[in-house]
């Protein structure tokens, strides 16, 4: 299969108005990915599925990732040998892993990022392109809060319909109604103590 750079060039040739870049993967697995901008992501996806050389007809996995505000160290654009730190504002990211059942190659990793984590969290849904995104995008909506425009049935899937908040976000505050446990550690012990008195310690060693 072609390298990510070659695929990107092919996509740019097929969908000229789309801006697709390659995101390097520093780990040992070397699965580099393509970053597509939401404005033309649907055309890019259709091209990836229908282009005769790629024929990526099988979307295997749709993952949401919550990137919080973090410090990024990168080369200073004005003086490339220096490294500068900057604060990268947080965003939500959706990663699609695409394979081709027709040609037997893959994976091609496609990513899309939202503008921020608070009020601009809309991305185009790729369910019209690959039906397998239907439930998985619902899950990303349910657990991360990414709103998929164009999804046929966007509602919560794992949590119940009246649930508020999005559990997989890094800043999710879980409810603290813990039941008292005999062997609690750290934060669980603090939360349990707020709600329940500990049962009387049995004869023998003293319990905290």
């Amino acid at each position: 299969m072609e390298s990510p750079e070659e695929i990107r060039d092919r996509v740019q040739a097929g969908v000229p108005e789309a801006a697709v870049s390659v995101v390097a993967n520093p780990g040992a697995s070397a699965q580099h990915s393509l970053l597509a901008y939401p404005s033309h992501a649907l055309q890019v996806a259709l091209f990836l599925r229908d282009d005769p050389a790629l024929r990526l007809d099988y979307c295997s996995n749709v993952t949401g990732v919550d990137w919080t505000d973090r410090e990024v160290v990168e080369a200073d654009p004005l003086a490339p040998e220096r490294k500068v730190k900057r604060l990268q504002p947080g965003y939500l990211e959706v990663v699609y892993h695409l394979y081709s059942m027709a040609k037997g190659h893959g994976p091609v990793v496609l990513r899309m990022r939202t503008v921020n984590r608070s009020n601009q969290v809309t991305l185009p849904s790729l369910t019209p392109v690959w039906r397998s995104c239907e439930f998985q995008e619902r899950e990303v909506f349910d657990l991360f809060g990414v709103v998929f425009a164009g999804h046929p049935d966007l509602r919560r899937i794992l949590m119940w319909d009246e649930f508020k908040d999005h559990p997989m976000r890094k800043d999710y505050a879980e409810p603290d109604d813990y039941e008292w446990e005999p062997t609690p550690h750290g934060s669980v012990l603090e939360k349990a103590r707020l709600h329940y008195p500990a049962p009387a310690a049995p004869a023998g060693e003293a319990k905290p």
């Binding site: 993967n25 520093p26 780990g27 699965q31 295997s60 892993h97 039906r131 794992l158 949590m159 119940w160």
Partner: protein, 390 residues
């Protein structure tokens, strides 16, 4: 309950039945099948809208077994997440373990010794045998053959579970694979017992098929039911025997060639009609192929270390990066997507559950057929809620 022209009727608390009036079609009945239901393979709910007995709309509802496995994994080390993977598809813990171990090995660049690869193949094929046997039993149980095929299947499954117990210490929650190999070395006695099982399994399958495959009631209830076209199956991301029954011969063991699978020549059974009967037959044929792979692996397994001596389990901190790796589990393609930020816990840990993605087209398969058929169709999809909900 409101019927025009009559005062409102208060129903006693019971199953969720509401009559919906539609001028064109008469009464449509919206029925909630589950989550407490003996045939829904776990806590799974289907909200079906019925016209008489024909399914007009079907929406699957799940999340009753959601245990936020993915968030727990963000707070747990890589090694400590391994026992949690047993509990995903709780029937097939060995393959879940392998999928996760493979993902971490690819993320951290660890090698696996050859003996461990052979043991992994042996255990994966044993798991495939037990899963497909169970599925045939459960499918027939849902279809109404109350108990006999299921109990015969479970009797055979006990032998495989005994093997797992003597190797890993536990029948179902094995926690056996490690990053860079396996936890315990199988003894020659264990390998001999596995060989005996593999030899005897063919005879069990012959008896089981004599019981089921030619059975006219089974054929009447499953042939032509729940048809799935190959194009829709590929688009919906269906994998595993359900995909192969539609005619698409996509098996991750052949496509990716992970582990030492390329050394074992085996055939991939493919169906022609995509109905429930084809899915059942594809699984029976896959079991026969698995026996062949088992025999070869047990014959050729080399001596050597079972765990790479340079591998790291406790305190593993893979370099920052991400990986998506997948294996052909008995239910379909099970994949793990891991993002590491260099710390002891993963930054993002995602399980790609085959059962969840296979459920995407449940509605498409059930439309226009009777509600009794929808139970059989759901049985043939082969879901385990631990995997769907995580």
């Amino acid at each position: 309950m409101n019927i025009p022209g009559l005062p409102p009727i208060e129903l006693a608390p019971g199953p969720q039945i509401r009559a919906v009036h539609d001028e064109l079609h008469g009464d449509l009945l919206e029925l909630s099948m589950g989550p407490h239901h003996p045939s829904t393979h776990g806590v799974f709910r289907m909200v079906v809208t019925l016209d008489g007995e024909t399914v007009v709309k079907l929406k699957p509802v799940f999340g009753y077994l959601h245990r936020n496995h993915e968030k727990i994994a963000e707070a747990t080390s890589y090694l400590a997440s391994m026992p949690y993977t047993d509990r995903l598809d709780y029937l097939c813990s060995m393959t879940n373990n392998w999928a996760y171990a493979l993902a971490v090995e690819r993320l951290s660049g660890q090698a696996v010794p050859e003996r461990a690869e052979y043991v992994r193949v042996i255990l994966a094929e044993l798991t495939r045998l037990l899963n497909h046997t169970c599925l045939a039993g459960f499918l027939l149980q849902d279809g109404g053959a109350s108990g006999t095929p299921l109990m015969y299947a479970f009797r055979e499954r006990e032998k495989i579970l005994d093997l797992f117990e003597s190797l890993s210490g536990s029948r179902m929650m094995c926690n056996y694979q490690r990053f860079g190999g396996c936890r315990a070395d199988p003894s020659p006695d264990w390998l001999a017992a596995a060989s005996t099982l593999a030899e005897g399994y063919g005879r069990f399958l012959d008896e089981y098929e004599a019981l089921l495959t030619g059975n006219e009631i089974l054929m009447a209830r499953t042939q032509g039911i729940g048809r799935l076209s190959p194009k829709l199956a590929v688009s919906a991301g269906v994998t595993g025997p359900m995909l192969r029954a539609t005619g698409v011969g996509y098996d991750v063991r052949k496509v990716d060639g992970y582990g030492v699978y390329p050394r074992f020549p085996f055939r991939v059974p493919v169906g022609a009609h995509g109905d429930v009967y084809d899915r059942y037959m594809v699984r029976i044929l896959e079991m026969r192929e698995s026996i062949g792979i088992l025999r070869q692996a047990l014959r050729d397994i080399p001596a050597g270390p079972i765990l790479d001596p340079k591998s790291k389990q406790r305190g593993l901190r893979p370099k920052a990066g991400e990986v998506y790796s997948r294996i052909e589990g008995p239910k379909g393609e099970i994949g793990f997507f891991l993002i590491s930020d260099g710390g002891p816990n993963p930054y993002r840990y995602r399980v790609r559950p085959p059962s969840l993605v296979n459920l995407t087209i449940l509605e498409d398969m059930c439309l226009g057929q009777s509600i009794a058929d929808s139970v059989v169709i759901l049985g043939s999809v082969d879901i385990v809620l631990g995997e769907v909900d995580r």
